[in-house]
Symmetry: C2
Amino acid sequence: MLKEKASIIPHECGDCPIRHRAVCARCESDELALLDQIKYYRSYESGQTLIWSGDPMDFVGSVVSGIATLTQTMEDGRTQMVGLLLPSDFVGRPGRSSAAYDVVAVTDMVMCCFRKKPFEEMMVRTPHIAQRLLEMTLDELDAAREWMLVLGRKTAREKIASLMAIIARRDATLNMNGTRGPLVFDLPLTREAMADYLGLTLETVSRQVSALKKDGVIELEGKRRVTVPDFNRLLEEAGDDSDGGMLI
Amino acid sequence: MLKEKASIIPHECGDCPIRHRAVCARCESDELALLDQIKYYRSYESGQTLIWSGDPMDFVGSVVSGIATLTQTMEDGRTQMVGLLLPSDFVGRPGRSSAAYDVVAVTDMVMCCFRKKPFEEMMVRTPHIAQRLLEMTLDELDAAREWMLVLGRKTAREKIASLMAIIARRDATLNMNGTRGPLVFDLPLTREAMADYLGLTLETVSRQVSALKKDGVIELEGKRRVTVPDFNRLLEEAGDDSDGGMLI
DNA sequence: CGCCAGATTGACGTCCTTCAACAATCGTGG
DNA sequence: CCACGATTGTTGAAGGACGTCAATCTGGCG
């Protein structure tokens, strides 16, 4: 892929693509104006580490475009992904001075950053920001707990199906696809990153992806483009209740 | 154990044992007075299910005393514990009408409950509550992510050691023990509950507990009382960096 | 005492990892 | 253009960690 330097990104908050989902979602226009004064954009290239675990964090921010991973590493090198950061997701923790996890870009990214101090001061004064951040944090906690079930109790095949279901579902909401007909999406993750997410080895991931393909649960174009002909079938394979398979 | 009916529990917020750690921790006395008007106490017996996943939730609240578990169950019966609720922990999610997990008492418990509607209204008007809830939720998210590493990447032996370390550490902070000398605590969980927490079978839990005992990492009095002669040794067995083993 | 839930221990099977070789894809440079 | 090296992915064989099934033990309580 040809990597052009990302041009300056002069977003007005008004037409920001994540305006209605990010931490600023509930802000009134006067509050937005205040945020505007302390915000700045940064772009990162695929593969770049935005933040190293343990390092001081002088900013927080929102993912505007692109995807990043949140990972934890043991001394002997074993790693576990503990979060997948998508557009509108929040990075960093107000009130904490150093980062708890590595944050790594898996695609080229743009972030909307706020210096931590001013942001924290603003949080105290504008409840709309704190309210939205609470809501988002509760959602993340639910997602983390759902993932605990996947990690603790599901088989390798079910883990792969679960991951596909999550990505498919998210892709459908982002792109406002209808709930009918086959779903098509690109895997944003390498086999190794999938393994780190699922608590497996990359070989097992590869084998189980091939198995799901052989059994017609998914179809592959190249290594990354996935088609799901029957979403409920995928949910069954994930061990999920397919009654709730309403997408969204 | 003889089960006496818990007597009525007429706490004044002022001398509530969780006053300084619960969701009300930052409230001023006038705010506390408001909370006082909408609060009520409930007690539960060991083994009782406080909340069934999917059921409507008309209250939220804080654990005053005792311990409960948060669990998720698949259709075929596999279960995964996704949280351990200790005194001062918050139960329920403002803004959500039905429960996402089963909540089960593992000891006799007392809860300080708030009807959901009034509590939600109060959250909007008193930022101190929302601030504290955000802080607590962020802590829970960190705990959940730490547990994802345990579930995804640690061996059975490391999982047991990790659980012991967490319980020992928490016990030390609750009881204000010094950081030196052997730690002694009671396991609040059965082998089966430990298995559900760790993503193992109860047989594997039993075997690994025995192995840690045989290797002198822990000592047992009966099935539940545990002594940890060397906490750093335990952290090593958990695969954790023992440099950070400062307790707390 | 005898029952029962919780816990331990053993034998055996299997799912996943480990180690290894190899294939596909892509970008780079001669 | 094609060779090449690097990266990513696939596939096979063998071993091990954990699960499953089952027998036995322990302690508490009627």
